[in-house]
């Protein structure tokens, strides 16, 4: 292992430890208590300090040392946890996390809260503890430990085991006596037989196995025995008999009783400890490769399916049922592989708790941060890319959304503002909401500001939604005075761009005086999609099922013309505007003689009816990006490869709605949304 890869491991491990730390602190804050909890918190800080020292991160180690000292006092019941202590140790976790980040980024910056939190910690630590990095700790006399040498000729082996053959062992004609002579050829062996399990004659199954053999050896090891008896694998159990060795003078030590009479169950020896979260670190490129290959497998499976389907075999033929197994297995693998990349948003949300605390501190506001749905899983790559947009949006919520304590009192609100961060799944998407109970958007001010900046013409008449969306325009900033928190030159337009690049959207809901909610709607995963295969203008295309409400073939009289190129369909009493998909995509489509209509739901335009030439199939497709080798195509989100190896484009329903609105080929949508 090279030093770099160790360092990489260190930072990955720190991330886990900081997660465990904020987890523990969260549980403390929620009123839980107990030695285990405090111990876990202590251990997280201690481990960061320990490994940090090895890499010479002095700032990190010296802060962790003070932090750990305070936690140790709490652990030893020398310091009781009150609200203030809890606040300090929670802030300390933030500072520690920031120090780790600094170390990782090789930044020299000092966390702004470092000095303050450190002195608060030192207050609780009693005396200011010495930095432990170079000088030996002053906590105890110089190492008062006399090394004890030991005999290297210690037998490296030997022990006592219980050998329990099962009934099959005897049924297969094996004979314990032969087995033991086999072992004697390898090492020294003493054998005794335990008859305790043998039932009385009336309960005896003549084919059963009741004898237990105890074997003792001075030079065999378990591995050697298992190896020698390889040919019997599965026919016997071998378990170590733990002996008690009396250790003098340990009565005063809390010790676990070890019983010599009851043999340990066979599995004790290799039982894995219950660890809170065992993880495997894998190079993401390998996972990507796996996901791609599995994608190919799914395509290959459908190619074979199609070919075999064309053979006209009988329904119950062996080939078809084998093919069905193949399909099932391929799906299983696909699901398993996809779940490798799925990750709960929890660590991200924990980082955001830090962001909110810092923002509250910087603005002097009282903010309660409420998180829900932190177990919601999304693609790992999305988790990482969400950090910056969320940070910005949460800072905004605290800075611009939540009022000052005085301001809240004036509006008759509770002094503590609430910022909520939640994640949940909704119809094939992940939704992340950032909401506050602050003052809401002031649309008059926003519009005036946009006009003042020349972003919209003076006589513009905008809908409420359009005004809200002005926030996302480049060059827009609402803060009357630039605060040191949000006014860092990053606008909401950057947020929107970041979300869009992930295939997501942002929407705003606000009520003046009551608060604002930003919703980020993201695709569940970047790799697979349930789609409906349709034909449009002699092309095969895929519509994501997630956006489809239903497919209809209306009676001719229900399709009504409202303009030269504009149709609506009467669906259960309401008119739904029609968008010709081929036309919206710019394909010269011959007149559709008998189109099928697919009702889709869009964020910006509500329900639309997309007209297509025909519907072929409904299936899961593997998403292939077009951007890498080509670029962005309006109205198309990606491509996929169909069973025959041909490429089909995947339609971006939301973008189609916007294209239709902007080109006027569809319904008049000027009241709805701004085309970005």
């Amino acid at each position: 292992m090279s030093m770099e890869s160790l360092l990489e491991t260190f930072f990955a491990e720190c991330e886990e430890l900081i997660e465990a730390l904020s987890d523990g602190l969260g549980r403390l804050a929620a009123g839980e208590s107990g030695d285990d909890l405090v111990n876990a918190i202590f251990r997280a800080v201690h481990s960061i300090k320990g490994a940090g020292g090895a890499f010479g991160f002095e700032d990190l180690v010296s802060f962790a040392h003070v932090y750990e000292t305070v936690l140790d006092r709490i652990r030893g019941c020398l310091l009781a946890i009150d609200a203030e202590v809890l606040r300090v140790i929670t802030r300390a976790a933030d500072v520690l996390a920031e120090l780790v980040e600094n170390a990782q980024n090789e930044g020299s910056g000092t966390p702004s809260a470092l000095a303050q939190v450190r002195s608060a910690l030192e207050g609780y630590a009693g005396v200011a503890p010495a930095a432990p990095l170079h000088e030996p700790s002053l906590d105890f006399a110089p190492m008062a430990f006399e090394p004890i040498s030991f005999d290297l000729d210690t037998p490296e082996s030997g022990g006592r085991w219980r050998f329990v053959p099962d009934a099959t062992f005897y049924r297969n004609g094996h004979e314990p006596l032969h087995i033991f002579s086999h072992l004697r050829a390898v090492g020294d062996l003493k054998v005794s037989c335990d008859f305790a399990e043998v039932p009385s004659l009336d309960g005896l199954d003549p084919d059963g196995s009741y004898l237990v053999w105890e074997i003792e050896s001075s030079d065999l090891t378990e591995d050697v025995i298992q190896q020698t008896l390889q040919f019997l694998a599965g026919l016997y159990e071998l378990s170590l008999v733990e002996d008690t060795v009396v250790i003098p003078d340990v009565e005063d030590q809390p010790s676990r009783p070890v019983s010599a009479d009851t043999p340990a169950p066979a599995k004790t020896a290799n039982a894995t400890p219950a660890s809170p979260r065992a993880t495997l670190r894998v190079d993401p490129e390998r996972v990507d490769r796996l996901i791609n290959t599995v994608g190919e497998l799914i395509i290959n499976q459908s190619v074979i399916g199609q070919k075999v389907g064309g053979l006209g075999l009988e329904q119950n033929s062996e080939l078809l049922s084998a093919l069905e197994d193949y399909r099932y297995l391929a799906r299983e693998i696909q699901e398993a592989v996809m779940s490798i990349r799925a990750q709960p948003v929890k660590p991200l949300f924990q980082r955001m708790a830090r962001v909110v605390r810092e923002a509250a501190e910087a603005t002097g506001k009282d903010v309660e941060f409420v998180v829900t749905g932190e177990g919601t899983e999304i693609d790992k790559t999305l988790v990482e890319r969400l950090a910056d947009p969320l940070t910005h949006m949460l800072r905004n919520s605290v800075d611009h959304g939540i009022e000052t304590v005085a301001g809240r009192a004036e509006s008759g609100k509770t002094p503590v503002g609430t910022v909520r961060l939640s994640a949940f799944h909704r119809s094939g998407h992940v939704v992340i909401e950032i909401s506050d109970d602050g003052k809401g958007l002031d649309r008059e001010k926003i519009l005036a500001s946009a006009i003042g900046k020349g972003l919209v013409p003076e006589d513009a008449r905008l809908s409420e939604q359009e005004i809200d969306n002005l926030l996302f325009m480049p060059g827009f900033s609402t803060a009357a005075e630039v605060t040191n928190l949000s006014g860092r030159g990053v606008g909401m337009d950057v947020v929107k761009t970041a979300i869009t690049s992930m295939g997501g959207r942002v929407t705003i809901a606000t009520e003046f005086g009551r608060g604002t909610t930003f919703s980020i709607i993201l695709p569940l995963t970047l790799a697979v999609l349930d789609g409906m295969v349709v034909s449009v203008a002699e092309q095969t295309m895929v519509l994501p099922i997630s956006g489809i409400v239903e497919t209809i073939r209306p009676a001719r009289k229900d399709v009504k013309s409202v303009g030269p190129q504009e149709d609506v369909i009467l669906v259960r009493g309401s008119f739904v505007p029609v968008v010709a998909l081929g036309k919206a995509l710019g394909f010269a489509s011959p007149h559709q003689s008998d189109p099928t209509y697919i009702l889709v739901e869009t964020e910006s335009s509500g329900i639309l009816a997309l007209s297509v030439d025909g519907i072929w199939d409904q299936r899961q497709v593997v998403i292939k990006s077009l951007e890498g080798n080509y670029g962005n195509i309006p109205g198309v989100s990606a491509a996929t490869i169909l069973g025959d190896g041909k490429i089909a484009l995947i339609v971006d329903i939301e973008a189609i709605a916007q294209l239709a609105a902007s080109t006027g080929s569809g319904p008049c949508l000027s009241e709805q949304g701004i085309v970005a």
């Binding site: 481990s47 290297l152 090891t221 733990e242 030590q253 676990r256 400890p273 660890s275």
Partner: protein
């Protein structure tokens, strides 16, 4: 075969970084026969099946601590005589006392270097 090539060492630490650092240092010293495990429970299981000459264990681990592991090893006849070194940053008098009673062979102070580790090992097995 020289001693350092013969010596079979088991590293026990819950942090993979620390395992890596110990591994690196031991390799630098010239050890060839190094095993590692990530908890006392796992180490005990491995050591009962295939013993080592020397165990180098972290003190602070979730579940079974380094000293708990030492006690368990000492109480089991097949593993009772193994060499055992405890890795710790700031050993408290209680830790030292319990270690002494359990026949702890030596301490390794954190942070360690391959030289300091070598010194600690040589203090108990002789020149490697």
């Amino acid at each position: 075969m020289s001693l350092k090539e013969k010596l079979k060492v088991m590293i026990v630490d819950d942090m993979s970084v620390s395992r890596g650092l110990l591994f690196q240092a031991l390799e630098e010293i010239g050890m060839k026969n190094i095993l590692s495990s990530k908890s006392g429970e796992e180490a005990f299981g491995l050591l009962t099946r295939s013993p080592a000459h020397l165990v180098i264990s972290d003190y602070n681990m979730p579940g079974m601590s380094g000293l708990d592991l030492l006690e368990k090893l000492r109480r089991n006849s097949g593993t009772a005589k193994m060499g055992f070194m405890l890795v710790t940053g700031t050993p408290t008098p209680e830790v030292l006392e319990r270690g002494r009673k359990l026949g702890l062979n030596n301490l390794v102070r954190k942070p360690f270097t391959s030289d300091s580790l070598k010194t600690s090992i040589e203090a108990v097995v002789g020149r490697v």
